[in-house]
């Protein structure tokens, strides 16, 4: 039996991975980079946006289920299933977001270190769980890379930082000095991880898809690498080297192009995956 393309999960799962990752990345990076100073009205907006992205991703994922009304059952097998673990982590993170938003709306200005720590850890786990989830599907060789959780994590953190840079650009959070050196280094790290991930993928349909000359004309490698990594890297490098000046337009350009690339990376990960072939004849002859 020939290898068969993965068709079980489609664009709604991709969107869940993308939105959940971006939301978790935004929450985690905001709390680390600037939110520990204290809650204010702006914090309420940023934390709320992070929670909204995670919730939207979860709702999209639920709509992909055959029985969405039974989705509360999905916490049961947390001992071995990454889907159950992911569901629990997402719900816990949403609970923490609710606590933070309630505190901010009540005018409580300080976040206790315990809550901040839990939120950051939970965000990190939500950011990387799609990698573990895909990694544990043993039949799909393209996903069997130990780099995948790290890649998902880095993409999510960088998506969060890009959203934070957009918020900084719009609301003036005063984080540009911190973000300017982090962003190009982060994009370069993601590019290195993606290169290592693709280099390690030998023999699967995914590898053919990326390495075949025929794939050069296809839109996804162009969107993931060209628009999603090269363009933001150049934008952020310019900002780091030459400061703001007329470079204010480069922040949204870099952020939006990275976010588009981040979505298409996940999309290509699902689209180019395939189930391994089964053969008895070849096995008997070798």
């Amino acid at each position: 039996m020939q290898q068969r393309p993965q068709t079980e999960w489609g664009v709604r799962v991709t969107l869940d991975f993308f939105l959940g990752g971006a939301g978790a990345g935004l929450l985690g990076t905001y709390l680390i980079v600037g939110g520990l100073d204290g809650l204010n009205k702006l914090s309420l907006k940023i934390i709320g946006a992070g929670g909204f992205l995670i919730l939207a991703g979860l709702l999209l994922l639920a709509s992909e289920l055959g029985h969405p009304s039974r989705s509360t059952r999905s916490f049961a097998n947390f001992k071995t299933s990454w889907m159950a673990r992911g569901a629990i982590l997402n719900v816990v993170l949403l609970g923490l977001v609710a606590v933070l938003m309630m505190a901010a709306s009540l005018g409580i200005r300080t976040i206790t270190p315990e809550i901040a720590f839990c939120t950051v850890i939970c965000s990190a786990l939500v950011a990387s769980y799609p990698g573990f989830l895909l990694f544990s599907a043993k039949d799909i060789r393209r996903w069997r890379s130990p780099l995948l959780p790290a890649l998902m994590f880095c993409y999510s953190v960088m998506s969060g930082l890009c959203l934070l840079s957009l918020a900084d650009n719009v609301y003036g959070l005063g984080m540009s000095m911190i973000l300017q050196p982090i962003l190009p280094i982060g994009v370069a790290l993601v590019a290195c991880l993606l290169w290592a991930f693709e280099k390690g993928d030998r023999g699967s349909k995914g590898a053919e898809y990326w390495q075949s000359p025929k794939a050069a004309g296809r839109p996804i490698p162009v969107l993931v690498v060209g628009l999603g990594l090269v363009l933001p890297f150049l934008c952020y490098l310019y900002l780091m080297l030459f400061g703001m000046g007329f470079g204010t337009a480069l922040i949204p350009l870099g952020a939006i192009s990275f976010l588009i690339g981040s979505f298409f990376f996940r999309h290509s990960l699902l689209r180019s995956a395939s189930h391994e072939p089964m053969t008895l004849l070849r096995q008997a002859r070798t």
Partner: protein, 196 residues
């Protein structure tokens, strides 16, 4: 108790009687076949070898579907069979991604082409994942699975591997049969003989 099936590929002619018996007996929905027969070819003319290979749930000892199911809808019963509790399944399809034998099917309740009648009530299981159960409803009555009974060439032998007198045990010991994807460590319970 460890149920197993040995399929002699020298005997299988690809008539699909097993597929039809399974489909009718288990009342599966449109486009869903728990058991099917695939054709495998190797080599180039004139040295071509062609085999008809029946594929079904391999009832793995080390089942990946059991591990990944978030709701515990996939479970192993007291007879060692990997089964699905249809009331617990949420239709997330994670087990389909993890199954190395592509033996699981999502019931989309597809309608047959125009003019073709809907047979049975398989589409009532809409939104869940289903698969071969070794006809567990018949095993308690001492009957073999429907595909075994329907095979006109007796290509399939079914029984308890822990029973030293069972035909299936003797065949496994004597023939040293092959299994699909032996490197994966899944320890499937469906064996194939007659592959040369």
């Amino acid at each position: 108790m460890k149920y197993a099936m040995v399929i002699d590929l020298n005997q299988c002619v690809g008539c699909d009687a097993c597929t039809v018996a399974c489909k009718l007996g288990n009342d599966t929905g449109t486009d869903i076949r728990w058991g099917r027969v695939i054709t495998e070819e190797l080599g180039a003319f004139p040295d071509v070898k062609k085999l008809y290979v029946p594929i079904l749930c391999m009832q793995c000892e080390n089942a990946e579907c059991l591990k990944v199911c978030p709701t515990k809808a996939t479970y192993r019963d007291e007879r060692g069979l990997v089964l699905i509790d249809y009331d617990k399944c949420i239709g997330c399809k994670y087990c389909m991604e993890a199954c190395p034998y592509m033996a699981r099917h999502f019931n989309e309740a597809k309608q047959p082409p125009q003019g073709v009648p809907v047979i049975g009530n398989g589409n009532l299981r809409k939104g869940i994942v289903e698969k071969c159960t070794f006809c567990e409803d018949r095993l308690s009555d001492g009957k073999p699975p429907r595909c075994v009974e329907a095979c006109p060439y007796d290509a399939r032998v079914f029984g308890d591997l822990e029973d030293p007198e069972a035909d299936v045990t003797k065949l496994v010991q004597k023939e040293k049969p092959l299994v699909m994807k032996p490197d994966g460590g899944y320890n499937p319970s469906v064996y194939y003989t007659g592959v040369k």
